[in-house]
């Protein structure tokens, strides 16, 4: 086993440079420290102001990073023994990696919302909290703050001008491509440089072909080379071959690349999740995003020939927050966390449309347009309660294997069968 003191020493130098930033402010009764990649800085500052006002005597110090920097920071702090009181987490691999540093959060939840605290959350938000827990470990190592669905969006004026309804089948998708493609509009705009977006599209395809099967494959109860997986991969390839996904998609990032083209009205459809609502709250949004007037969500079209997409959507926890075992004042940390989930801080968060709440009953203070309200209601009242399966996969190596395979197949370097073999190989490498 690796010598812990060696690890600690190795990170000491990196850590000493930033210890000072988290020093408690003079005069504050309790300081709660928080580090994460989400919510964004501006939103977090509003949440902190609201929570500090609601809980006098608690001061919150936060630092928000972009995601890669956050992972580096968290890892350095964990090995150096200086994790903050509250940390942003994703369900699955990330939470499991830091499980030994996290205090079970169910007691905190029960202390605020009672023993039936789970009933206060959308079901998917609770279901996914324990993703990857070892057998027999029933603890919740964090509480959900934001949730999301993954789906498609369509650009309302583009479809209106084309005289088309949002497609429900693959054939309708092809008609859309033949109609809008020649006019210089992407039928389905995908910033496929980003692996997560490629994976999101595939997850919707496999959910369409064989709902739930991919989670069985993750547990070794099915093979990634089984026919349904290859079929879904074949549909992925057809999206490129039939010019439904725009040319050169593998060379375009989701943000800011595809985002700018979408907001400029160059896309009929695009695969983003519920988080796309926040485009309306950015400073000086383009006309289509203003009040979310130009966009509406739609289910991924059916590719199986059934004629209708599945009733349920994929989704999950966008961000959850854990209380660390070394939290200086766990009670204060719990107050902050629960306020950000269902209190004054949560209201500030939801007002930004950053994503969907995990806590039932929260609604933004105001809507700019009827469409914006209709979209919110659709997500929170119809779609979110139906989410049955997770957007995320358990193991990062399988995720990466799938993302690589999707790129290889889209580029024409691998057949769908070879692509799924890549995923199976990734799975086999971790299960050895």
């Amino acid at each position: 086993m690796m010598n812990k003191s060696l690890l600690t020493t190795s990170t000491f130098l990196a850590a000493v440079g930033i210890f000072g930033q988290l020093a408690p402010a003079a005069g504050a009764d309790q300081t709660v420290t928080f580090r994460s990649w989400s919510p964004i800085v501006e939103t977090t500052e509003k949440m902190i102001a609201a929570t500090e006002a609601a809980h006098p005597g608690i001061k919150i110090e936060s630092q928000i990073f972009n995601y890669p920097d956050y992972i580096v920071d968290l890892q350095t702090r964990a090995t150096g023994g200086s994790v903050p009181d509250l940390i942003g987490l994703e369900p699955g691999a990330l939470t499991q990696q830091y499980r030994d540093f996290l205090a079970p959060a169910q007691d905190c939840a029960a202390s605020v919302w009672g023993d039936d605290w789970q009933s206060k959350f959308f079901p998917l938000a609770v279901d996914q909290l324990r993703l990857g827990n070892p057998d027999g470990d029933e603890n919740y190592y964090g509480l959900p703050v934001l949730t999301q669905t993954i789906n498609l969006w369509y650009t309302i004026p583009v479809l209106e001008d084309a005289g088309l309804e949002p497609p429900k089948t693959y054939d309708e998708l092809k008609v859309l491509a033949e109609t809008v493609g020649p006019a210089g509009t992407a039928p389905l705009m995908v910033g496929a440089t980003d692996g997560w977006l490629r994976r999101d599209v595939y997850m919707q395809l496999i959910h369409n072909v064989a709902p739930g099967l991919i989670y069985e494959a993750e547990l070794g109860q099915a093979n990634f080379t089984d026919a349904p997986f290859v079929e879904a991969m074949t549909w992925w390839k057809r999206l490129f071959d039939d010019q439904i996904i725009q040319p050169g998609a593998l060379g375009l990032s989701a943000y800011p690349g595809s985002m700018e083209l979408i907001e400029a009205g160059r896309a009929a459809l695009f695969p983003m999740g519920a988080w796309w609502q926040q485009q309306a709250t950015r400073p000086n949004p383009p006309p289509l995003s203003k009040g979310l007037s130009g966009f509406a969500p739609v289910r991924f079209p059916d590719v199986t020939g059934k004629g209708e997409p599945p009733e349920d959507l994929l989704g999950g926890i966008d961000v959850m927050i854990g209380i660390t075992k070394d939290a200086k004042d766990p009670e204060a940390a719990c107050k902050v966390l629960t306020d950000w989930i269902g209190g004054a801080g949560a209201q500030e968060l939801i007002n930004t449309f950053n994503d969907l709440p995990a806590f039932i009953g929260l609604t933004p203070a105001s809507f700019e347009t009827e469409n914006q309200k209709a979209v919110w209601d659709l997500f929170t009242e119809e779609w979110l309660p139906t989410v049955k399966y997770a957007r995320q996969l358990r193991d990062p190596a399988v995720k990466q294997g799938l993302e690589d395979a999707l790129a290889a197949v889209a580029a024409g370097d691998k057949t769908p069968e070879e692509g799924m073999q890549m995923v199976q190989d990734a799975y086999d490498s971790i299960s050895k």
């Binding site: 890892q75 440089t193 375009l252 690349g257």
Partner: protein
């Protein structure tokens, strides 16, 4: 008379003098180098208990990791296709911009600007330029009928690495130019005048006098180019993320992916050891074969 050895007191004084340099070297270079080698012998996620696996990470790397070999291949491409074009173009531009043309100071600044712009910004801008759907090049292709401009430069696994290399050359040619301008200004006028008197034409002067006299600049650029090759990260990370399917993978990018996205710090450490050995080997090769006389000023 044999040279007397320094007295112990002098030795101690000498040690004290080198201590300010030695200590940082031990702490910031030697210790991390030892540490990553030690960590490379473990299966470790960077946070939790590690499991000793001896050389398994190295065996996996050399026998079954296609992405690692792609990263090595790309390092070779990167070294040859950035260092020499940058030197050649930088030299040509430097020649023109020291010949007394109007606004040459202005043009020097223009050519140098990309070198001081963040690679993140450059990556985002060039991704847009390359985008075959609404990008600058594809729109120019549409307008002019030059179909090759609509090539999916970053999406095609066969050409993506070269497309990124072009951007790197574009960014750093100005830097080469600057060093060559400094070198050119050091060449005494008397030598150039003598060549003229002896009847040497422009080409002969450049070929036989100017180019050899800039050897120290060439060596500096080769050294910096090799270091840059082994450190290539932000441009690739922003433009392609190492994709599609690792086609533009570089060792630093791959180390980052393994360490922080795939939670394989042990394996990432093994990759780092290989990168370190590669850097050491190339540096030694350069010092031994090309000579160690690299500096801006002769």
């Amino acid at each position: 008379m044999p040279a007397s050895s320094p007295r112990p007191a002098q030795e101690r004084q000498g040690l004290l003098f080198i201590l300010p340099a030695l200590l940082p070297f031990l702490v910031f270079v030697l210790y991390p180098a030892f540490y990553i080698f030690y960590a490379s012998l473990f299966a470790w996620d960077g946070v939790n208990q590690a499991v000793f696996v001896l050389f398994d990470n190295y065996i996996r790397m050399f026998t079954s990791d296609a992405a690692f070999w792609l990263a090595l291949r790309n390092a070779v491409y990167w070294a040859f296709l950035t260092i020499f074009p940058q030197m050649f173009l930088g030299f040509l531009i430097a020649l023109v911009l020291t010949s007394g043309i109007p606004f040459q100071t202005f043009f020097r600044a223009v050519f140098y600007v990309p070198a001081i712009v963040s690679p993140v910004v450059i990556g985002i801008v060039w991704q847009r330029i390359y985008n075959p759907f609404g990008g600058l090049l594809s729109d120019a292709g549409l307008a002019t009928g030059f179909g090759f401009l609509m090539t999916p430069f970053l999406a095609d696994t066969k050409i993506a690495i070269f497309s990124v290399i072009v951007v790197n050359v574009w960014q750093w040619t100005g830097f080469s130019m600057l060093l060559y301008i400094a070198g050119l200004q050091e060449i005494p006028d008397e030598i150039l005048d003598s060549a003229k008197v002896e009847g040497a034409d422009t080409w002969q002067t450049i070929r036989h006098i100017v180019w050899p006299m800039l050897k120290h600049v060439h060596l500096t650029l080769i050294l910096l180019g090799i270091i840059g090759t082994l450190q290539t990260f932000p441009l690739v990370y922003i433009m392609t993320g190492g994709g599609p399917n690792h086609a533009t993978e570089t060792l630093p990018n791959y180390i980052f992916l393994q360490a922080f996205k795939l939670q394989s710090m042990g394996y990432a450490s093994a990759l780092s050891v290989v990168l370190l050995l590669l850097a050491l080997g190339l540096s030694l090769f350069q010092v031994r074969v090309l000579g160690a006389r690299f500096s801006l000023v002769r």
